[in-house]
Symmetry: C2
Subunit: 459 residues, 2 copies
Amino acid sequence: MRPLTVALILCFSAFSFAQTQSSNGVDYHHIAEQIVRHALSEGRAFDMLRELTGVGPRLSGSPQAAAAVELTRQIMERWSFENVRLQPVMVPHWVRGPVEEAAIINSPLVGTMPLTICALGGSVATPALGVVAEVIEVKNFEELHALGKKAAGKIIFFNRPMDPTSLDTFASYGNAVDQRGSGAIEAARAGGVAALVRSMTTALDDVPHTGGMHYDDQVPKVPAAAISTLDANYLSQAIAKDQHLTVRLKLTCATLPEATSANVMGELPGTEKSEEIIVLGGHVDSWDKGVGAHDDGSGCVQALEAVRLLKTLDLKPRRTIRAVMFMNEENGSRGGKEYARAAAEKKIQHIAAMESDRGGFAPRGFSIEGDSVVAQKIAAWSPIFAAFGAERIGRGGSGSDISPLVQQGVLGLGLIPEPQRYFDYHHSDNDTLDKVNSRELELGAAAMALMAYMLAQEL
Amino acid sequence: MRPLTVALILCFSAFSFAQTQSSNGVDYHHIAEQIVRHALSEGRAFDMLRELTGVGPRLSGSPQAAAAVELTRQIMERWSFENVRLQPVMVPHWVRGPVEEAAIINSPLVGTMPLTICALGGSVATPALGVVAEVIEVKNFEELHALGKKAAGKIIFFNRPMDPTSLDTFASYGNAVDQRGSGAIEAARAGGVAALVRSMTTALDDVPHTGGMHYDDQVPKVPAAAISTLDANYLSQAIAKDQHLTVRLKLTCATLPEATSANVMGELPGTEKSEEIIVLGGHVDSWDKGVGAHDDGSGCVQALEAVRLLKTLDLKPRRTIRAVMFMNEENGSRGGKEYARAAAEKKIQHIAAMESDRGGFAPRGFSIEGDSVVAQKIAAWSPIFAAFGAERIGRGGSGSDISPLVQQGVLGLGLIPEPQRYFDYHHSDNDTLDKVNSRELELGAAAMALMAYMLAQEL
């Protein structure tokens, strides 16, 4: 997920709901009620999510990711989607390694204490016996730069928490995640031997939250790991007691040759303008911690269920609605890039693309990026989406997988669910099926179904 | 909780946020931001909830209920509330009994199968060896009445699920809960020997959800139990295989003599009109299943935290803001009734009463009952409450504990959180602290703090 900000842009009144009809007399309020009723009584998103998370963690290049491609293809076939097919994509193949990861404090003042850590996705391994070095704590890159030569030979400990005070947890994530994404580069640039990064989470917990990180060919590749927020606090206190404490960091991860994988897609063909496409997507890969129930199993099954709902309720769109299970959002975005590249090459006309990648929580609205007049038009549909509790429709980023399409000028939409819990689970062992409420998940799918239908009919 | 329905009544625009000032120039938008920032970084509601749920289940008359009275009194003293005091209330004292409750199917066709049940609160016990009878399934009282003499001697199995299709789970609860509340009366009236009631929950799970029920002195008191939704489905299928299967139902509950207990209250005194009261409340009692984390530990700590937030941020209300921990909402509402009776007797001027008793989930708004013009005025504050995600302000019921005050003409408000998960946990072993997200809980407290302050300043 990328950090996004959403601003409300419109006014709504429940009293106007009953009058919400299109120019040609279609009563979308009635259709919304029909979809909600079906989704909450006979919705299949949660069942699909049980299947998908049953595959296990689905990191790009893994056997589980391959199994998820096959499973989502089967689900599309099972519900008689049309033009079901795979779009081949080459993906990075990073593995955590067979040996347990570890970080251990060694200090005459503090003692010997293990820390709860995990490699960041894409990190190089440490030597077999680990990296042993003093630890120096910084809150940001400016502090690191100010250290000058003091950083040389040290493990750089990036310990700036996500800002808890913002209602928008995605904004807080966006303002903290540079430590994870570029911490290894900045650590190496400063002469450091490794990066240890406070987990990107609003929770104070004892699990590390992994995630993507980058290297720069201009500087050495140093190993990088996430540390749980509880142990980040502990380590900070320990450093206050002994500024010369050392940590032994041991990671056994590796980057293997790239692997073949695929986006999965299937359609509900349009009745009038079948060559015009509305894309609905989520990403089928996940990190290797937890089973990607919220990130982004939920988004995948919501896109699948949205198409199934329209088919089941016999709502025939004028334009083609296509569900796409994007591969490799987490560590490369290869699926999203390949999809957009191929679409441009073949000159396929995309009218809009919508993504769900903020968790399977109760929907609150949609964010839109693209032409202002079109965005205003969609925002005016807000009263209809109150039927799903999703009436906050405003400007904001859409989604990572569809951003290459959006850069080509395609209208982008993101489903915006309630955001307070998402980063408790994100990229960690806690992102499991039991954290998803079936009603909340189905409501999101229902909201996406109507939005896709209205985009197909009304744009 | 009582079933309530809420209708949105107003229009909002984020663009107007910055201009939201009172007639005397106070910038409530700024105050809202101040409260949110403090609540999300240094809020204490979750810590208080950990303490309160640590007491255990708090059924009226129990030692744990007494401990909760003392604990909430201490919390008020700890944060220097003024006029901290107890208001004595006599409460019912029902106990589940020391021996395990049981219901066992016996059938030559189906076999011997235990069912997951628990006594409904207030039920009489069965004889020591249990009630053994054939079971007859009905969906509602009309079906029961239509059975005529066929119901005589039977265990009446009320098996109408909560309607899953409504977005408003409280409305669905309201439409199903007659089975639990009056099932024993109707069963007895029909000649039945016991009532077995499908648990009031949106979840399909293996835990029974207890709750209040009534007797009528005109008919025999027959034992009544809740059955888990999974086992309700199982029993229904078993009856389809063997219409003459019997169930042995054994309950060991008892009603003891009434006990003395108390409402707990403490204040932030008004600077100008200290004799005019704004009440903020939740109920400190719970059922004896789970630890009442959402129902209604959350509401109690939100009321406490709202007052603490105002004190800590040095926001001095013109009118007195009083936190009240009501006793005995679950099986008698004695606390709410006594509070209102004493207020009328002493002619204490109550301007408004606000309750949180719909769980500690992310706040979405407030419901208001009372004078239309005043309700419209409060609804116009909606843009300010978007700072908490709580901008849906509309007409609807307020809360069970404050309803006796509302009946006296006092304006009533209810905090409305996201409602999809509440009945998964309600009145069951699943209503525990781990189901509450600290950020969501603190946001609700923050929204109540500002609402109380604005009621104190602006009405």
